[in-house]
Symmetry: D2
């Protein structure tokens, strides 16, 4: 059983990271294990910017967006010398295991550290994109999807007032989960995701027909990986007579007070990660599958590509 | 295959009922089946207050709380003559199957109608309490939990400013799911649910000790089935020296624009219910289990009592 | 010109107190004047719980509800000996003037300190009730009113679904401003305030008639000073056939992230208070009148009773 | 006294337009005057798309964003023949006066109609920009400002997590009121408005210095009339070493459920407009000045440019 562990957040921040780090810290302390917080991801590990944590250091943060530990992307970590230095900084403090909360790139960096040094590593999927292989869920995806439907509610008001088409670009380079769930929930007419081909000419023809039949407004949700909102909006405006506006939601999707799901699931994942690493397990990522916490092989998680449940696309077709 | 079906909402309303009814209607129409909306639950069925629906009748409602069909509790339905009259009113219109969206009592009424007349019935669990046996999820529970944490966020501000204890009573007569998940997510110090015994004297002693040690505020979340918020608050005030306030959230928990989860899952349930009843299935309730839509025997659903996952209580203990 | 001032929050907390205290601190520092923060209102002053403040001590708080300084009601302050001790604690630190942010009772305590010791005092109206004489506005009233209409939005969903009457009790012992503005904004059918007599029998008769004519739901907003929500709800249920529910919003009204108005106006008031006390002015309260910051005699402010603009009641009658 | 009036919304929609139109309609009916609703602004007037309204036609809309009457910009209205046709369409129905709710361009179109035909016209300032001369307030500006600070709250989370600079572009071509008030309320470090020159090199130097001193994040709010968010963000990124991101809020600012202020003030304006036009007044715009409803000469309102209160810029400098 390990006596001292550390936790960091890395890569793009997501709502629920605080709840997750809090659960790691409190579970470790509950088990009588020392726990360190590392600031600003791998940067802090290299710069020795870390501190021993107490229960109250994670008080009053479960409701906050962002991450109190800070996060960053780190070039130095990409080199073996960097990772070796990070390992040394852990060993010097007697830290025997590391919990990394972050997205794909961060987990990949953790996977390399584990391979090269053998230090126990447990990863937790922190990203709004919900694109980590082996898990139905990533920390922050529910808050981000709800942020998007709030935006859709507002855009719907003005679209309806003006009989407009609104194209809303949301995050998701490789994965259309956010666009798909928020689009279905927002009642979008068209949802464009990187996992599915689409025919913009057919969509324009379809829209023009609906407008003639009296449709009041049209909402298109597009994942950034499926095309640029600006270009798609321009194409629609040019190929139909419909007054079209584009909204690119951007980094707002990353912030905000986390939802119940993102607080509770992040807490469950943090608890399991702490228990696992304390017991000496390594090279796993905790996620959710079929409603329960599951462990996934870390290297599999970073080397496989998650697919989007085709039921969503079918549901979208039936409902709209 | 059925040619004509009807849908109603019944019992207490919950956010997502509109999304659900919309999915029933649109799936039926997509399948080429006639679909009727019945107003105000079993009342409307008895009073012949129902109408044939088109796609646009369920436009612009997915984002709305409440239920556009109206809902009610209905004394007349409790008698066999009432149910026989309702059956006749369906048959007179050529309606061959009924989808009922509602809580425990409503599903029980549907179960009786099915037994007595043999008309195909499919139930869908619409209640914020998340207390339907066989399903991890009921329509509206996620929105209600998020409404509670919004309240907790506000109460925390004022509790912290005044060094107070706040007792928040939330819904849940038989089931502590709402109190438990919202309590964990809200960072509550104590969560009292009907499924678990608690020792108020021990809690008071614990609180007094924490206050002496400098704790800034304490939050107690209590499900209505575990005791009266007012009485618990009074007891705490009398048995500790802590300035205590009570908030009873009440019907606010029932309203509000539904979350992504409550829109998407309600839509998935509505789709499956429509497909099932059209194909002639009966006496089932659709719910979620292990992350997927499942069908549950209607009579089992109403005759069994759901238990609360003990992992929640354990998590609450570790984290606070 | 004073060289050192102090700021405290006192009485019930209200959203915007942080923005206000921040403006006092930053304005003082901008002017090169030393500024102390006193914790927990008059308690902190008596217990010598105060500290010199820097710019960054008020960073990242403008968006927070509650008050980072803490607040409390204080029995000891009611006695002259208490106030003399508080004065001594200020003088001992070289503090030459005091800014008090709080409601009626807090300003009254400040008024006594000024009379008895001659130390310069400037008051700022911090209370959600908007009941300070001489000012159109008190810090927090806009956030509280918006919190109430969010609740009304949710209650409307469920009231409409069930054809119910909802009675919503809101804060306001002596002043109906909150009930009136939130009631108008929420589209309430009846608004009961302490400043106006009402005839509950006439209201019941009116309601019953409206229901017969097909009205879907009725919303009654009642200020706590105009009667108990529970009793009024019970009376309505007994004297009409309308299914009636009561909601008592309680301390939720005090919390929440402040609105733009409550941040900007609180900042403007804080700036003016700091400038005034630094220049040696005393015995004034800053408020808003006719859209601009005005100074009001402190003793007048605490000895006069604000009246409610009768235009509101007229508007409510015309609109509903 | 007029016997029949009409109301329309025109130009860009803004939250509170529904509350305002509702007040016009209900006040007219309260006074026993016939009132017509015109759909889609001047388009509807030209296309004879209008209808007589009853009290219940404006039920359940006070809480909605957008405008239930629809709105549009209208090329045909720019020509005298168009306006003459519109006049004829009013006269044909016996409509004797017109209330126009809209921004600058819409009021200009109304001003021309009045000059050319003599029909009584009353304008109401409906625009989120708060840029109508003679009024402190335009319908929708408070909701839009609050939408912006919600976005800032979310952006702050992610900016702080990453030590980033965020540039947020908000609406306001000619008028910086939205940027200024939301910027102050959001605690922005820099606020760029069309009314004030700024030196981007000096800002970059200042930022770089603050970052060296340990500043965690920087927020820049820029009104679209003061420069492109994208370009300013690019300049900052190139001239400092600070990781910079840009967010363009876009049409989201136009939507959303209106705040208390935007519902109550819009209602007050609508009431006064209805009373004025019924009494035969014309060529006025109602707005707010010094906290009260005032009437402004319509032609002055459209021919003068509103200035931004310099106190805001001063306050911003002191506070940040």
């Amino acid at each position: 059983m390990l006596k001292s562990i550390a936790v960091m957040t890395s890569g793009g921040d997501s709502p629920g990271m605080n709840a997750c780090a809090r659960a790691v810290v409190r579970t470790a302390l509950y088990e009588g294990v020392e726990v360190w917080g590392i600031n600003n991801g791998y940067h802090g590990l290299l710069d020795e910017d870390m501190f021993k944590m107490e229960r109250k250091d994670v008080g009053d943060i479960i409701q906050r967006g962002g991450t109190f530990l800070g996060t960053a992307r780190c070039k130095r970590w990409e080199k073996p010398e960097g990772r070796m230095q990070g390992y040394k900084n852990l060993v010097d403090r007697g830290i025997q295991g590391l919990v990394v909360i972050g997205g794909d790139g961060s987990l990949r960096g953790a996977s390399l550290l584990s391979k090269e040094t053998g230090i126990p590593i447990v990863g937790l999927p922190g990203t709004i994109d919900n694109d980590v292989w082996g898990s139905d869920y990533t920390i922050g995806c529910d808050t981000a999807a709800n942020t998007i439907i709030d935006a859709i509610n507002k855009l719907r008001d003005t679209a309806s007032a003006h009989r407009r088409c609104i194209v809303l670009e949301v995050m998701g380079h490789r994965c259309g989960w956010l666009a798909m769930t928020a689009g279905i929930a927002g009642g979008a007419e068209y949802i464009l995701v990187p996992e599915e081909e689409y025919d913009l000419d057919a969509i324009c023809a379809d829209m023009a027909k609906a407008y003639k039949a009296g449709k009041r407004y049209i909402l298109v949700v597009v994942a950034e990986g499926a095309g640029s909102g600006q270009e798609i909006g321009k194409y629609i405006a040019e190929h139909t007579n419909i007054d079209t506006r584009v909204s690119v939601l951007g980094h707002i999707q990353r912030g905000g007070s986390p939802t119940v799901i993102d607080r509770v699931k992040a807490s469950q994942l943090g608890e399991q990660a702490a228990l696992a690493i304390i017991s000496g397990l390594s090279d796993i990522v905790f996620g959710f599958n079929k409603g329960h916490v599951v462990s996934i092989n870390l290297h599999d998680a970073v080397n496989n590509k998650k697919t989007l449940d085709p039921e969503y696309a079918h549901l979208a077709r039936v409902l709209f």
